[in-house]
Symmetry: C2
Subunit: 136 residues, 2 copies
């Protein structure tokens, strides 16, 4: 179905914080938004939600790790259904903390790529907002 064939545009509804956390916890891949010297960057990571914070791993010293520490970050997760043209998205905004003393054997998110991603990163939501798009 081409998007042109959607006769009934959908309607956006704001999600409550509880709904945002519930949907966020239902997915395993999300996207981190940060800024490097050139501007905004968006990269996917596997993650978990634990005690109200977002946890993911990256490799120490890579671009994500080098630039995340210097300011707030965004974290986005979503789900979209092409057929019904509906879905939801959740956006977390807040400060980034590197969690010390963790190893890949600890609890927490396990990255899908190989095991160089030993740095555990926490994004603490200052705000969490989300929208659901209902089919038209």
């Amino acid at each position: 179905m081409s998007p042109k064939e959607s006769w009934f545009p959908g309607h956006l509804h704001a999600l409550s914080e509880d709904e945002c956390f519930e949907l966020l916890a239902s997915k395993s891949v999300g996207r981190v938004g940060f800024t490097d010297g050139r501007g905004p960057v968006v990269l996917p990571v596997t993650y978990v939600v634990h005690d109200g914070v977002v946890l993911f791993r990256t490799a120490p010293g890579n671009s994500l790790a080098r630039h995340l520490g210097s300011g707030p970050a965004a974290f986005e997760s979503d789900e979209a259904d092409d057929y019904t043209q509906s879905g939801w998205s959740v956006l977390v905004r807040g400060p980034v903390t590197f969690v010390p003393g963790t190893s890949p054997d600890d609890e927490g998110p396990v990255p899908w790529p190989d095991n160089t991603r030993t740095l555990l990163v926490r994004i603490t939501p200052e705000t969490i907002t989300g929208r659901r798009l209902l089919p038209g």
Copy 2:
């Protein structure tokens, strides 16, 4: 399957520009990364790739439109398979242009939400990079 049960971590491979454009064109929902006064923001949009640029629509005057004009943006699309823990992602970085004189009846991406999204936005890739994660 819990991520803990993946015994064979996958391997990341860089994608060529041609592969990036091909994969980017295969999806209809991606995510715009930009910066507002508080920091990075990541929001999903429906999009098309046309003549090597990314096109999407938003509503004139909303947060996306107000903040996109002031600098470079990021655009991300991805696909992930939870079962095989594999997938790909593509990241476009470049300047943003608002395309004048367009109406919802023109060619271009048709947003899934209702028809207030009359502003056509173009992101011209300065760089396009991508990675494929092969199953372990």
